[in-house]
Amino acid sequence: MIVIKRSFILLSGLLLAITTCPLLAEEAKSGYEYIKPATRAMQDDDFENPGMLSVERGLELFNEKQDSTGKACSDCHGADAQKMNPQSIARYPVYDENRGGIVTLQKSISYCRNNIGSRALPTNHPDLVALETFVRNRAHGEAVNVQVDGPMATLIDKGEKIYQTRFGLIDMSCSHCHSLYPGQMIRGQKISQGQGNGFPAYRLDIGEITNLHQRIQQCLTLMRAEPFDADSEEIKLLGLYVMSRSNGLSIETPAVRY
């Protein structure tokens, strides 16, 4: 009897472990592990990495005095953003109820720009992406550390639902490609886990720096789906979920990717 009981407990424990073990039981791997050696070398060399141009452009903008107020981001944060805490940068996107929930790094930058009287720019304007790249680069090497408890827990669940929904004529979900098939080839391209730690990243395919939301929009277009708008709740939820999968991975901004 005791033996039966024990094996029953063991079995149910095992079952529980299997069914509750998140998909993340699959170890998170950076996109870096899936790209070609030549692309890695390009990323690792600051002089070769085309994304560094965006970092430099961001640095310029960071120090640019606004006409209306004569102020610059650097007034508060230091010319090289040395007064910013890389660990806080690694927490993005963050939760802030007063700012409508999920706040991306770019949105925080926009709030600051607003405070110093800068001209309002639309989401993902190249200047904002350059600033985002520069600021995120300050946390290079930090581990992604998105909040997963509290109000974020429900939002991450919502994001995961979207991640697992089929979209577009291709009629696949994000998780089909990025959770089931990493390491497989789609045409000439090796599929990665679709992690967010490299973003903003330089895309060799289109020759541009793109942030995570833009990359997700590009995947939706590839799926022949209608991409979610830059300011939509869906894109924020997807971005948050993707970033939460990347927790623990080193920030590589600006990564170089296909």
Binding site: T19, L169, D171, Q184, A225, P227
Partner: protein, 156 residues
């Protein structure tokens, strides 16, 4: 392809319908021919059309059309970049009849609801959030699907 437990659960979750995200006001196009699955096969050619194997061979490798090579290996010389998501299609006609191949191209989810392969003649009303240019359209036309099938049946 071995599925680990976690991945299997994922598939199950992926199947669960998500409400509130679909905005399907798509109408069935006038020229859409209906089809019927019987015994895991579609016997009748779509719209009664004849396929052309040569055109089919072009369609499977054209990334704007079938783009089958994105996921499958095909015995077409000179093509190096192909996908490994789906099984290689060499010898497909010795494994399946024409009618069995047809259901797999038209909408393979009729035989495997968890399949990730796009339905090339899937009812457009079933597509979630199609891009604007693709609303109310099938992936391939009925003629193109029949061309692809005509090519695949030559792969003995």
């Amino acid at each position: 392809m071995s599925l680990r437990a976690g991945q299997f659960i994922l598939l199950l979750v992926a199947l669960a319908p998500v409400t509130g995200m679909t905005e399907n006001a798509v109408a069935l196009p006038d020229n859409y021919c209906s089809w019927e699955v019987k015994d895991y096969a579609i016997e009748e050619p779509l719209c009664g059309l004849d396929g052309d194997a040569l055109r089919g061979k072009q369609i499977v490798s054209d990334s704007n059309l079938g783009n089958c090579l994105a996921c499958h290996q095909l015995p077409i010389p000179g093509i190096e970049a192909y996908g490994t998501i789906g099984p290689p299609l060499q010898g497909i006609a010795s494994r399946y009849t024409e009618a069995q191949i047809r259901v797999r191209i038209v909408d393979t989810r009729n035989i495997n609801p968890m399949s990730i392969m796009p339905g090339f003649y899937r009812d457009p009303r079933l597509i979630n959030r199609p891009g604007k240019p693709y609303r109310g359209k099938t992936f391939l036309t009925a003629q193109q699907v029949e061309d692809v099938i005509a090519y695949l049946v030559t792969l003995k």
